[in-house]
């Protein structure tokens, strides 16, 4: 079991007794109902309670409904909405108000590949082709940046540098499409290990700048661990994986947001740990109207507590 014992996951805080208990316990049903009600007429969902339909919250909402076996019609309409934003080169624009694509299209394509039908899977494959069609910026190694800037992962936008989160999304997509042996994936794995913060975890994508080690962050660390699902996190495996897991375990109890906690939970569950944490999500939704009204956050929390085998973002060896 990855060389780290389950008992090292801190216990979730005690929930206060009273009316809030039922509210907090009810959050999964409340979240599923919220997703069904917050759907836009175009079939998509927005990030928050205002805004246009966007592919990432739509992908998360669809994946959450899929993982909880709810509302197949809404799932299909969501997938079709994502497909409607696909461009001739295979890219998908992040939202209706923005035509320039970003690597968030990989998030959408993961959901298309897992939750959709043959046409959706074909659309996901076109996204993969698009993502492999351009080279991100590289440069000669720079003395003031610790990372190997000659390595290519994936960038948020073509022609910019590779960063941890977009690279992780693309690696997950390629795994879902059985294309993880592609040479770009081999290079992406090297890039991910190269960018790990020496003390454990990952941040947006620089481990040290001007000789100062930078701090890790929760979401990039969780995504890196999910993307590197096929790498051994045990004692004989690469140290960044063990250190990343330890970093996330240290953050379980003091992470005060649904989104980050959701990705922590998914990453640890992907590595076999019992980190469902339902009480924490109820507490956090009760504390933040912004999260409570966000289809994105609701979707991530639902995914974090769903059956692992139904979660498009968790792949287990």
């Amino acid at each position: 079991m990855n060389g780290v014992t389950l008992s090292r996951i801190p216990a979730a805080p005690q929930i206060a007794r009273g009316d809030r208990i039922s509210h907090m316990d009810d959050w999964p049903d409340e979240s599923l109902a919220m997703l069904e009600n917050a759907r836009h007429t175009d079939g998509g969902w927005a990030y928050f309670d205002r805004g246009d339909s966007a592919v990432e919250p739509t992908a998360m909402a669809v994946a959450a409904l899929y993982a909880h076996s709810r509302n197949e019609a809404a799932q299909k309409r969501g997938l079709d909405f994502i497909g409607s934003l696909q461009q001739s080169d295979g890219a998908i624009a992040p939202q209706t108000s923005q035509t320039e694509p970003s690597t968030l299209c990989a998030v959408a394509a993961i959901t298309l590949a897992v939750c959709g039908d043959a046409s959706h899977r074909a659309a996901a494959a076109r996204v993969a082709d698009y993502l492999l069609s351009y080279d991100p910026a590289t440069s000669q190694r720079m003395p003031h940046i610790a990372d190997d800037s000659t390595l290519r992962g994936f960038a948020w936008r073509p022609t910019t540098y590779s960063w941890v989160e977009p690279t992780a999304y693309v690696m997950l997509l390629m795994s879902r499409l059985n294309r993880r042996e592609h040479p770009r994936m081999t290079e992406a794995r090297r890039m991910m290990f190269d960018r790990a913060v020496p003390t454990g975890g990952w941040n947006y994508g620089n481990s040290a700048v001007f000789n100062t080690p930078l701090e890790p962050a929760v979401m990039p660390t969780a995504l890196a661990l999910l993307a590197l699902w096929d790498q051994d996190a045990g004692p004989r495996g690469p140290a960044p994986l063990r250190l990343g897991i330890e970093y996330l375990m240290q953050r379980v109890n003091d992470t005060p947001s649904v989104l980050s906690l959701g990705w922590i939970s998914m990453a640890l569950r992907g590595r076999g740990f019992d980190a469902v944490l339902p009480g924490r999500f109820g507490e956090l939704f009760a504390a933040s109207n912004r999260s409570a009204n966000s289809p994105w956050h609701r979707g991530v929390a639902l995914l974090a507590t769903a059956d692992v085998s139904r979660n498009p973002f968790i792949i287990r060896g």
Binding site: S97, W156, T160, Y204, V209, S257, L259, L284, R290
Partner: protein
């Protein structure tokens, strides 16, 4: 005269503003006029609302009456350490209350952090979330807002248009609530650099790397992008939190530097030049301030600027910098 929203609409229609020819700045102080105000503020516990109101009254042309006001703090990163990375919540809440008392129709606090996608985490760890909740202030995550393209009014980068969040486009008055910090790429991050956070990550990435790599030639373009953003968004007022700044390896990994002042004004380059002078820098040696001076965003020579309130000399202190920015201090 066009108001801010009319201006943005016009540039959206034409797709571009004037293309500036060449950038042959000499590294010398200019004689461009400008103005800025320095107010003493020894700590965050004092009545900052009254202080900021006093400051705003020094700019009688500034009106918030009936306007939708967007307050943009510097909320770049989270940390569990005590490093003063972000605009202090007390300054944000005090500024909101000051604009309320100036009869603003609505006030929203908004930002798009450069490194983090989880705004709830940033709000919680910075302390700003709780402060806003207690003050009954709304917050909008600009990284994931709906967007619209407008013409790039500066055109120092190769970008023809800039995508702006709908919340920014709908605001009548954008106020930059910056932090007095060194910056390991730009030299200093003040009211103008703070405007990077107005740009949506969903378009420009995390960090906003598109804006880093859109120069002529294509490599590093942070100074050019700063001026493009300010010329395009046209924020109306700047308040820099210099009560405790950051020196050394800013904007994230530096050390606290108590200074004890707020720097304010409606001419962004002049406000930033004044703040830079307080940090012990020669403002004309900061690339984006030279560009901004030439672009009409205010003069940058402290010897020429109309300084209101306290003099620079009262607060001038030597901010440590990384070695590659040592020249910022040379006369």
């Amino acid at each position: 005269m066009l108001n801010r929203r009319q201006f943005l609409k016009a540039t959206a229609a034409t797709g571009a503003a004037a293309l500036l020819g060449g950038c042959r700045f000499s590294p010398r102080p200019t004689t461009t006029p400008g103005r800025a105000l320095i107010l003493p503020a020894s700590d965050y516990a004092r009545d900052l609302t009254e202080l900021i109101l006093d400051g705003l009254r020094e700019f009688p042309e500034l009106s918030a009456r009936g306007k939708s006001v967007l307050l943009k703090p510097n909320l770049v990163e989270t940390t569990t350490s005590e490093r003063p990375i972000n605009t202090h919540p007390a300054v944000v809440v005090a500024a909101a209350e000051a604009f309320r008392r100036m009869d603003a129709a609505s006030i929203v606090v908004a930002d798009g952090p450069g490194h983090r996608r989880d705004i709830e985490l940033v709000l919680a760890q910075s302390g700003l979330g709780r402060a806003l909740q207690e003050a009954d202030l709304d917050f909008v995550d600009l990284n994931h807002d709906a967007v619209a393209p407008v013409g790039n009014a500066g055109r120092r980068t190769i970008l023809d248009k800039l995508y702006l969040p709908r919340t920014v486009l709908e605001a009548d008055l954008v106020v930059s609530l910056a932090k007095l910090k060194t910056h390991h790429w730009a030299g200093a991050t003040l009211s103008m650099k703070n405007c990077f956070g107005l740009m949506p990550g969903i378009v420009y990435g995390w960090p906003k790397n598109v804006l880093h790599r859109s120069g002529r030639p294509k490599e590093l373009s942070i100074p050019q992008a700063i001026v493009d953003i300010v010329q395009t968004v046209r924020p109306g007022f700047a308040i820099i939190d210099g009560i405790v700044g950051m020196e050394g390896d800013g904007p994230i990994m530096g050390s606290a530097k108590p200074v004890g002042c707020l720097v304010m004004g409606d001419q962004f380059a002049s406000v930033d030049a004044t703040a830079a002078a307080i940090m012990g820098f020669q403002p004309h040696r900061i690339d984006y301030l030279r560009y901004a001076d030439r672009a009409g965003l205010g003069g940058t020579n402290p010897a020429v600027l109309q300084q209101r309130g306290e003099p620079i000399s009262l607060f001038r202190t030597d901010f440590a910098v990384l070695p590659h920015f040592a020249a910022l201090k040379s006369a």
